[in-house]
C-alpha cells in the first residue's frame, strides 16, 4: 500500500469469473467509503483469452490502471496467468493463486510449453505466495462455480477492512439474487480464507 491506496490485480482466463470477483471487491470498497476505480480488458477476452481486472481504492483514485511493479495483491485464478502478471506485483506484494492449470490450444498443439512449476517460479521471485487448489475445495462443496467466493475468502485477510465485511457483501449479494446459494458461498468463503493461509 502506498499513499493509502491499495492496488489489486485479478487475473485469469475469459469465463472464469475474474471480472465478477473484481466487481465484488470494488463494490465492497466503495461501500467502505473509499474512492474506487476498476478497469479491465474486455471485448475479445471472453473467447478464452487473458483477462486482467485492475481494482484500485483509496482516498482519491485518478488513473484506473495499475502499472507494472505497483500491485499490492495479485489474485490468480489460474497458475500460468498468475505467473504472466508477476511483473505487475511489487516485490513486497502478495500473490494468491489457484493452482488450476489450463493449457490453451497453442500449448496443446506443441507450439509452446506450459511452465513446469509456475508456483515455484512465483515464489522464487521473492514475493509472498499462497497457492492452493480452489477447484478441489469447490468440488468438495459440490459446485465448481464456488471458486470465486473461495478466492475472495483467500485474500480477505489482506484487505484494509475486516474479512467479514467482504463476506457479508458476498452473502447479501446472493441473498438478493440467488438466495439458495448464499449459505454455500459463505462456506466457500470460509474455506478459501483458511486455504489462503497455506504457505504455498
Amino acid at each position: 500500500m502506498r499513499d493509502g491506496i491499495i492496488n489489486i490485480l485479478v487475473v485469469g482466463i475469459g469465463g472464469q469469473g475474474v471480472m465478477t470477483a473484481a466487481e465484488m471487491l470494488a463494490r465492497t470498497a466503495l461501500n467502505q467509503g473509499y474512492d474506487v476505480k476498476k478497469t479491465e480488458v474486455a471485448g475479445m477476452a471472453q473467447r478464452g483469452g487473458v483477462v486482467s481486472s485492475h481494482v484500485r481504492f483509496g482516498p482519491r483514485i485518478y488513473s484506473p490502471q495499475i502499472d507494472a511493479g505497483e500491485a499490492d495483491l495479485l489474485i490468480g485464478f489460474e497458475a500460468a496467468e498468475a505467473l504472466r502478471w508477476l511483473p505487475w506485483l511489487r516485490p513486497t506484494g502478495v500473490a494468491m493463486v489457484n493452482t488450476l492449470r489450463i493449457a490453451p490450444p497453442v500449448v496443446s498443439a506443441g507450439l509452446y510449453d506450459y511452465p513446469a512449476d509456475p508456483i515455484g517460479q512465483l515464489a522464487a521471485s521473492g514475493v509472498e505466495v499462497h497457492a492452493f487448489d480452489a477447484g478441489a475445495i469447490a468440488e468438495q462443496l459440490g459446485n465448481p462455480k464456488l471458486v470465486n467466493s473461495i478466492m475472495l475468502g483467500a485474500i480477505s485477510d489482506h484487505l484494509p477492512f475486516p474479512a467479514d465485511v467482504l463476506k457479508t457483501a458476498i452473502i447479501e449479494g446472493f441473498r438478493a439474487y440467488k438466495p439458495k446459494l448464499a449459505e454455500v458461498n459463505a462456506q466457500a468463503f470460509d474455506a478459501g480464507r483458511q486455504a489462503g493461509h497455506a504457505d504455498r
Binding site: L30, V36, T39, G48, S63, P105, L111, S125
Partner: protein, 621 residues
C-alpha cells in the same frame, strides 16, 4: 429490477462510463436512442434499454442509427446515437449534412474510441469529426463526467441547434467508478415536426445559406469554450511543467504528476485558445497530453503558443502514467527510476473460438481446401486467421468481404489464375453493410463463393440481437429476415444458394468444394446459434475411446478448445520414415456435446458419453 434505473438523486453507484451515459440520457429526457453494437460502446444501448421511458433500438448499422436519431430530433425529441469509432465513419454521411441543417430536439452522438485496440481493427481519433463536421466535443475523463457531460451535451445541442459529440474512450466506457446522481428524469416533450423546406431540405440552394450560419455557430461555440466551466485549471505547486489535457489522459497526468498545474479540457472542441494562452504564461513549459492524435497540439501551435507534445509522447495508444513519467522526466533532465519489474515469461493465450462454436465447421472445411483466397470480415470468425485454421486472408471493415472479394476476382493477378475467391461474413455484419456487396457482385457478374455464417447473434460484442435473430434489443419477438429469400432477392440463382448445418462437417466440406467450382456467385448459408447465447442447446459431452483412437490428429485440426493433445507418439512408417501420432482427449467440462468432432474421426473413436459415465475431471495441462 435494476437498482440504478430506479435510483434517486444524491445516491452513489459504481458505474461504468457506458452505464453512466445511459442514466444521463434518461435524466436528460431522451425519448429515442439507437446504436449498432461495437466494443467499447455496446453497453450504452444495452443499459438505455433498461429505462422504459426511452424508445431504444438496435439499428442495422451506425448510419441508420444516427439517421433514426436525427429524425427523432427533427420531431422535437431529445435523441442519442452511440457507436464505436469505426461506426462513426459509417455514420458520417448523415451527420456531416445534418450538422449544417442543425437540430431541434437535443441530438448527441456518443462515440467510443478504442484507444489501445482492445477489440478493433484500427485506432482512430474521433475528435477529427468535430472539426470536420463543425460539432462541439465534450470529453469525459471518468464515469462521473460521462454522466454530467452527457446531460450538458443535450442542453448545448438545443441551445446551439447542433449535434454534439461526447467522445469516450475504452478507458472511460469500461472503467467502473463512483457516480453520484444529481437528478432524476426531466421530460422534454416533443413539439412535433415543423415543416420548413428551406431548413430541412438540403438542396444546394437551401444548404448554401446554412454555411455562413454554421461558421457563425463555430464562432459562438469558440467563445463559449473560453468561459465554460468544463475547461478548468488545477493549480499546482511545481510550475516547471504545466499540462493541457483532455479525456482519461487527465487522470493519468494527475496520477503521474500530482503537483503539476493542469488545464483540463472537458469542452475540448472548439479549444479555448485564450484560456490556454493565459495558462501557458503561468508555467515554465507547456506540455499537451492528448489521446491519440496531435489535434489540440496543432491548434495551440497555430495560435502561437509555445508548447511540447507529440515530440515527447506517442501518437498512438494510451498515455498511461508508465508512458508519461519517463517522457516528462527526460524533458526535465531528470533520471527516471522505473521500478525494476519482476521477471516472468509465459506462453501467449490468444482469444480462440469457443467449444462447439458454429464457425469451427466452416473453418475446418476452408483449412482443408487448397487454392483459396479467403476474404474475411469483422466478427468472431476473424479468428479463423489464427491457429490452427490459418484460413482467412484479409479483414478490413464491416461488410468489406463481399466487395473486396469481388474486386479480387476482377483484379486477378498471374498467381491467382487457379485460385477460387471465397468471402466469409457473419449474419449481423452481412445485414449491417454486406448486402450491398452481394448485390454489387451479382449486378456486375462477379464470381465469388460466399460463406454466410449465421450464428443468430452479434457474437463478438456479447451476443446481441439483430434482424436475423428474431428478437429486438429488448428481447421481444421481431420479424426475422430470411437469408435465403434475401440472397435470392438480390439476384443469386436459387440453385447456388445452399444451406447447411455447420456441425455436419463432411457435408460442408463437400458443399464448399462444389460451389467454388461454379463460374458464378454462390451463397452457402450455415445456421447454428452462437454457443454463448441462450439459443444454444447443450448436450451430454463426448469422449475419446482410447482403444479406438489411431492418433491421426484430425479432431485437433478442428480447433475446438475442448479438445487437447493427450499424448504424442513417434512411429516408423512402412517406407522407413517416422511420423508423429497425436492422441486426443476431450475435456468433459468444456465439451457441450455438439458432435462436430465426431465428423472428423474415421475410426469412430469419439462417442457421446452415457448418462452415468460422465466423469467431471479438473482440466489440466
Amino acid at each position: 429490477m435494476n437498482a440504478v434505473v430506479h435510483a434517486k438523486a444524491a445516491s452513489r453507484h459504481l458505474l461504468s462510463g457506458n452505464e453512466a451515459v445511459a442514466r444521463a440520457a434518461w435524466e436528460a429526457g431522451v425519448r429515442v436512442a439507437a446504436a449498432y453494437p461495437g466494443t467499447p460502446a455496446t453497453e450504452i444501448l444495452e443499459n438505455i434499454a433498461l429505462y422504459p421511458d426511452i424508445y431504444s433500438e438496435w439499428s442495422v448499422n451506425e448510419k441508420v442509427a444516427v439517421e433514426v436519431a436525427i429524425g427523432a430530433s427533427l420531431a422535437g425529441s431529445r435523441a442519442l446515437a452511440a457507436m464505436k469509432h469505426v461506426g462513426m465513419n459509417v455514420a458520417s454521411d448523415a451527420f456531416m449534412t445534418q450538422s449544417l441543417a442543425g437540430v431541434v430536439g437535443g441530438l448527441v452522438l456518443v462515440v467510443a474510441d478504442d484507444v489501445g485496440l482492445s477489440s478493433s481493427q484500427n485506432e482512430q481519433d474521433s475528435r477529427y469529426w468535430g472539426r470536420f463536421g463543425h460539432m462541439p466535443i465534450l470529453e469525459p475523463a471518468d464515469s462521473q463526467e460521462a454522466y454530467e457531460m452527457t446531460k450538458t451535451a443535450f442542453d448545448l445541442s438545443e441551445q446551439y441547434e447542433t449535434p454534439v459529440i461526447v467522445r469516450m474512450t475504452t478507458r472511460v466506457c469500461h472503467v467502473k467508478a463512483m457516480v453520484e446522481f444529481t437528478g432524476e428524469r426531466v421530460e422534454h416533450p416533443a413539439a412535433g415536426f415543423q415543416k420548413n423546406p428551406q431548413r430541412w431540405v438540403m438542396t444546394p440552394a437551401n444548404a448554401k445559406p446554412r454555411l455562413a450560419l454554421m461558421h457563425e455557430r463555430d464562432r459562438q461555440l469558440r467563445a463559449l469554450s473560453e468561459t465554460s466551466e468544463l475547461n478548468t485549471a488545477y493549480v499546482g505547486s511545481d510550475r516547471r511543467i504545466g499540462f493541457v489535457t483532455s479525456g482519461p489522459a487527465f487522470m493519468h497526468v494527475r496520477e503521474a504528476f500530482p503537483n503539476a498545474p493542469v488545464l483540463k479540457l472537458g469542452f475540448s472542441h472548439p479549444p479555448p485558445l485564450e484560456k490556454i494562452r493565459a495558462f501557458a504564461a503561468t508555467v515554465d513549459t507547456l506540455v499537451v497530453v492528448e489521446e491519440t492524435e496531435a489535434l489540440l497540439e496543432t491548434e495551440i501551435r497555430a495560435a502561437g503558443i509555445a508548447m511540447q507534445g507529440k515530440e515527447l509522447l506517442p501518437r498512438c495508444g494510451e498515455l498511461a502514467p508508465s508512458v508519461l513519467r519517463p517522457a516528462i522526466k527526460a524533458l526535465l533532465g531528470e533520471i527516471h527510476e522505473a521500478p525494476k519489474p519482476l521477471q516472468a515469461g509465459v506462453f501467449p493465450r490468444p482469444p480462440t473460438m469457443c467449444a462447439s462454436c458454429p464457425h469451427l465447421g466452416p473453418y475446418f472445411a476452408l483449412s482443408h481446401i487448397r487454392n483459396l483466397n479467403i476474404v474475411g470480415d469483422i466478427g468472431c470468425y476473424t479468428l479463423g486467421a489464427g491457429h490452427p485454421w490459418n484460413a482467412l486472408d484479409t479483414c478490413t471493415c464491416m461488410g468489406a468481404s463481399l466487395s473486396m472479394a469481388h474486386g479480387m476476382d476482377k483484379g486477378r493477378g498471374a498467381s491467382d489464375e487457379q485460385k477460387h475467391i471465397v468471402a466469409v461474413i457473419g449474419d449481423s455484419t452481412f445485414l449491417h453493410m454486406g448486402m450491398q456487396g452481394l448485390l454489387n457482385m451479382i449486378y456486375n457478374r462477379g464470381n465469388v463463393t460466399v460463406l454466410l455464417l449465421d450464428n443468430r447473434s452479434v457474437g463478438m460484442t456479447g451476443g446481441q440481437e439483430n434482424p436475423g435473430t428474431g428478437q429486438n434489443l429488448h428481447g421481444l419477438p421481431a420479424p426475422r429476415v430470411d437469408f435465403v429469400k434475401l440472397a435470392e432477392g438480390l439476384g443469386v440463382r436459387p440453385e447456388r444458394i445452399r444451406t447447411v448445418d455447420p456441425y455436419e462437417l463432411p457435408t460442408i466440406v463437400k458443399l464448399v468444394r462444389e460451389e467454388i467450382k461454379m463460374e458464378e456467385p454462390s451463397v452457402i448459408i450455415t445456421t447454428r446459434p452462437c454457443s454463448l447465447t441462450d439459443r444454444f442447446e447443450r448436450f451430454r459431452p463426448y469422449a475419446v475411446v482410447e482403444d479406438l483412437c489411431t492418433g491421426c490428429g484430425n479432431c485437433i485440426d478442428l480447433g475446438c478448445p475442448a479438445i487437447s493433445v493427450a499424448r504424442r507418439e513417434r512411429v516408423a512408417t512402412k517406407s522407413g520414415k517416422s511420423r508423429e501420432l497425436v492422441f486426443a482427449r476431450i475435456d468433459p467440462n468444456a465439451c457441450t456435446g455438439c458432435h462436430m468432432c465426431a465428423g472428423t474421426c474415421a475410426p469412430a473413436a469419439i462417442v457421446q458419453q452415457s448418462q452415468d459415465s460422465v466423469v467431471r475431471i479438473q482440466p489440466h495441462a
